[in-house]
Symmetry: C2
Subunit: 336 residues, 2 copies
């Protein structure tokens, strides 16, 4: 059983996962199975599926799926049990309650996300939306984090294209900061901070990478990482769960375009993306009564181009060697 | 000229360093010079030295030094000029004023820090102390960050053992959080948060790694990284600049011991360490009038054992696969 712990010196929760590798050697060297457990026909190699987008008439845990979701085999958090929040001395801890799921994005072993068909990427986005909605039914879970690690250097231990979902009983630090900033800004300006930033960015244009009917992709004025790109819906919306069918098509398209541009500019780099969406509003917390108006969901895409993240881990202090305007220009001009 | 920038969505400053590599290719592939610029005899290959601990009668920028300090050849920040703080629209920016220095810890090319003689490690620690003191004379500089990247994976582009110093006109995020937590705790308890944590940790003993006369090394209850170790002075002190000659000897000794234990347990891993010390108190800010009592300096040592830092970057949400108690036990039992 894993634990969530908090130190009084830092206002952040850490998952201490006892289930995972214990010896330092096993941390660096993860065994990659010879048979891909994400390929059709190998469904028995994964935990039983939670859901799948499959051809009519096919059975769970068999071939016939287009997108498949199952619990992580080495979960950082688990669904069973209660939180048992405790305060030993100066510390705080609770049991590692939550969910940790894998979303296999395609039956094809070697197909990266940006090469999925239009239909297929939309299926993946629908699965993201439906999983967030489903996990929000559990009011112990405050946040559902949808993310993707692509490439060994970005933390993906298997090559078959997949995303992950972690649902937690706490709000992850950076998300909490964004929620707090958005709320503060709304209270003093009466408008959404991201809507105002986007409108300012669109006027200058220098950090805009690409736009289509419903979405805009840009580099942030204070990007912490080179070639980091954020994708925002143009129409204000606090949650990915509100995405319409039309927006799903538009979102899939812009995400694939940005990845293709990035491949062109940065030679197919490893990357991570994270969807920043509203927390679970079911266990309604008072702070969030304006969240529909103050928070603006978006996707953050971080290519893994630098290794300088050493002391950044310890200080929260980032050095970005490429100006966001330069990065935007290179990406804007790249022909996918 | 680099810039410091802040986004209203995150309360953190980022250095946007235009001086450094611009093309994605040059970010990943850093050219390592064939001749080591840190070796004696090659002093002309570095910028002119700022200071050095050298044999009497030898000249600056020649052989004869034991520890040598000079500006980073590719500085993230530079000393000349004024800050020119501006607020373009919703954003904030200032010029990249500060200092970025390199401390070469030994004339010997292949000697890692933990193998330096007792005298030599003390020389390095004295140089750290003196550089912090000297940089504090510039009241534009709010914080002096002393850190070390060891090993390619930890961001060290050169193998010859060295540390770095970055002095900034802002307080790095994690340090600011620590300062804030320490102040808050002091206001409500009247005691130093770290003194109280250390005393609680010493009672249980389960996270203690090592101690000597003046220092204690332990894993934090909510360590974000496997085998992360913090070293605290036992006697309360807010700043590394207050370290006594006797404590310097004790500190050098415990730092080398911990590194040797880590090498034993984790097979000589790459690592980063950062000294968390009080900010520059010369431009005296009101918030810090209790800082001598509320803040406790320490060193944080982070071995680079996992690659899972992908989405952690985007979320501030950490999964540590080794419990701090397990890590402490393995390190405690390791014979250097």
């Amino acid at each position: 059983m894993s634990e969530l712990r908090k130190d009084p010196l830092y206002d952040r929760w850490v998952i201490i996962s006892m289930e995972r590798g214990k010896r330092p050697g096993s941390l660096a060297l993860r065994k990659v199975p010879e048979t891909c457990p994400f390929c059709p026909g190998n469904e028995a190699l994964t935990p039983p599926e939670i859901t799948a987008d499959r051809e009519p008439g096919t059975n769970p845990n068999e071939r016939g799926w287009m997108v498949r979701v199952f619990p992580n085999r080495f979960p950082a958090l688990m669904v069973e049990g209660d939180l048992k929040r405790e305060k030993p001395g100066l510390f705080e801890r609770m049991r590692g309650i939550g969910a940790h799921e894998v979303v296999v994005e395609t039956p094809e072993h070697n197909l990266p996300l940006e090469k999925l068909s239009e239909d297929q990427i939309q299926r993946v986005m629908r699965v993201y939306r439906d999983r967030i909605e489903d996990l929000h039914r559990d009011i112990r879970l405050k946040y559902v984090l949808v993310f993707k690690n692509w490439g060994d250097q970005a933390g993906a231990s298997l090559v078959h294209s997949h995303s992950q979902i972690i649902a937690t009983p706490i709000i992850p630090t950076n998300l909490k900061e964004e929620l707090d900033s958005s709320l503060r800004y709304f209270r003093s300006h009466g408008t959404c901070i991201c809507c105002d930033i986007i409108s300012q960015d669109m006027k200058s244009g220098e950090r805009i990478v690409h736009e289509n009917q419903h979405f805009i992709a840009r580099t942030a004025f204070a990007s912490a990482f080179p070639f980091q790109v954020d994708i925002f819906p143009k129409a204000h919306s606090c949650s990915f769960t509100n995405i319409s069918e039309e927006e799903i098509s538009s979102f899939g398209h812009i995400l694939q375009t940005i990845l293709k541009k990035l491949n062109r500019v940065a030679d197919t780099p490893p990357y991570n993306y994270v969807i920043h969406t509203a927390p679970n509003l079911a266990p309604r917390e008072e702070l969030w009564h304006t969240i529909e108006k103050d928070f603006h969901w978006h996707l953050e895409l971080i290519p893994r181009l630098t290794r300088i993240a050493g002391f950044e881990w310890g200080t929260g202090f980032y050095i970005n060697p490429v100006s966001p305007e330069e990065a935007a220009q290179q990406l804007r001009e790249a022909v996918p």
